[in-house]
Amino acid sequence: MNFDLSDEQRMIREVARDFAEREVRPIAQEIDRDARFPHETIKRMGELGLMGILVPERWGGAGGDTLSYAVAMEEIARVCGSHAVVMSVNNSLFCDPIHKYGTDAQRGRFLRPVASGHEIGCFALTEPQAGSDATNQHTLAVRDGGHYVVNGRKVFITSGREASAALVFVQTDQAKGSHGISALLVEKSRPGFLVPKTEEKLGIRASDTAEFVFEDCRVPVEHRLGEEGQGFKIAMASLDGGRIGIAAQALGLAVGAYERALAYARERKSFGVPIGQHQMVQWMLADMATAIEGARLLIWQAASLKDAHRPFSLQSAMAKLFAAEMAMKVTTDAVQIHGGYGFIKEYEVERFFRDAKITQIYEGTSQIQKLVIARSVLGGKA
């Protein structure tokens, strides 16, 4: 067992950290306050290769591994949760499935511009009635010659406003239920592809969360990813990988908040001593440091299994569950250690607290992760 990163992984971590510290940190507060999408830094992350880490070079990516992706994600999220979620969705939920299931024509058209960071991709699975109940898809795609005609509505789509194309899950055969779901690659520019609304959010405010409406939107059959009826499998496989990204995002948020709490505990005095000398604060810091390390090890394990092409669904669910719950607890305690100042925006730690909440919800709620884990440990027999 070896817990050391390789030279490449270490250098990727350093680049992500330097970039986050020097380019992202100066704008992180402002983009959160104004809910402004950071085009300038996302573009530069693309140039560095952070938007298509797992994609081979020939398709515009960096040709890196999942562990590199996880350590880079932690470093970006340690400074800004909004940058991290844009990066996570682009890598895990758009690039990964197209690379895995796409034809070369689809890879050239949809993957290359997004993996190289020139454009942004998004993933449209959730519908008003289909969240955790993801098989309950109502968006319909009806075959008409060489096209599908798509009608329906998708909600809570990360990067939905800024993306140039979406991986959209549709029902191509309602009678077959989840086996009738297919995945379509749809450019935003197609007639009938509408983006009526962007949400106001508690956290990750600089990333845009949009609603899609499809009104007789015609999509060529050759833009279907995988086979008809394979859509749900593609969605679930993408989310298995995505959970490593979100777990690493949660980890980074926790680290960012913990480091601030640690610094504050050293400098803030009460009763004549730095508050870090009070046992109750020490207790919180010890719990935070331990939980962070535990989450990191689960994430690195899931990433290493994926890189070794071994089953990793269970481990990525565990990593995502543990990291998200840990991030919520750690960011809450980080605010607590700051006392009243933690509640004030100037001290930044409240931003991590707000950003952490969504990690318990998206790409499978903590409850869904428990369901996945329970089914796995019970052997699907309960």
């Binding site: 030279d7 490449e8 250098m11 560095l48 960096a62 040709g63």
Partner: protein
């Protein structure tokens, strides 16, 4: 044009330096090592010269222990074409002159048109190797470079060095040694592609014998390192403003001798 960039691996700027048990070196356990920041300016400038001229080769070289390879790999990830590692226990106690002689031997083998260095390494702040290297080679040298322009046929470089309140501009015949100052450029981040590609690039290990060098005893040896005395605490002058200001002025004049 072939450009050789001499770099040094140093502790990260955020390191809390502790003196080791022997009293003459620092505790290296737990240190994060980086390419000395002034050397990064030198690497960046070399890459820009190559890109501007549309051809050439950038070779990174360092003298140091095995771990110094990490620093060379960082240079390769930024875009250097290959690297040379002068890696020999014979150089464990190398002073700046020994280092300069070893680098000069590499320069003689490689025959670059230009050598770039940082104006000093940020660990021991000697700022001597570039000048000594030029002296050993018999080449001209300019330090604290803020701007440089090489003429089209690669015969001379116009180099502007930072002096108090302005720039001093020289025409320097090539080959020469230039030492980079902060402000020369903004070093690029290595791209992930560059990082992944770095492992395919050559890092050549070189021993003292390969350079035709014996183990000269260093001319300079460190006898002792001392920690800086802790900073004395600040002083708060109490009392009403008029009295406090009088006391402040007196203290600045008589105790601190600042005015």
């Amino acid at each position: 044009m072939k450009i050789l960039v001499a770099i040094k691996q140093v502790p990260d700027t955020a390191t809390q330096v502790k003196i080791a048990g022997d009293g003459r070196s620092i505790e290296t356990a737990g240190i994060t090592w980086i390419v000395s920041p002034y050397d990064e300016f030198a690497v960046e400038e070399a890459l820009r010269i190559k890109e501007k001229r549309g051809q050439g080769e950038v070779v990174a070289v360092t003298l140091g222990p095995e771990r110094a390879k990490e620093a060379l790999r960082s240079c390769l990830a930024m875009g250097a074409d290959r690297a040379i590692h002068v890696n020999d226990p014979a150089f464990n106690d190398a002073d700046t002159l020994t280092t300069a002689r070893a680098l000069a031997a590499v320069v003689k083998q490689e025959q670059p048109g230009l050598v770039l260095v940082g104006r000093q390494a940020i660990d021991d702040d000697m700022g001597a190797v570039g000048g000594q290297l030029a002296e050993v080679l018999g080449w001209p040298c300019a330090y604290w470079i803020m701007e440089e322009t090489i003429d089209a046929d690669g015969q001379t470089v116009k180099a502007a060095r930072q002096v108090e309140g302005g720039l001093e501009v020289f025409d320097v015949p090539l080959p020469a040694v230039l030492a980079a100052q902060k402000g020369l450029n903004e070093p690029r981040y290595p791209t992930l592609k560059g990082i992944m590609g770095a492992k395919k690039k050559e890092i050549k290990d070189v021993k003292a014998g390969d350079l035709g060098l014996g183990a000269d005893a260093p001319q300079l040896s460190i006898t002792k390192l001392e920690a800086l005395p802790p900073r004395p605490p600040g002083r708060i002058i109490d009392g009403d403003i008029a009295t406090a200001v009088k006391e402040l002025v007196r203290s600045l004049r008589e105790d601190a001798k600042a005015i």
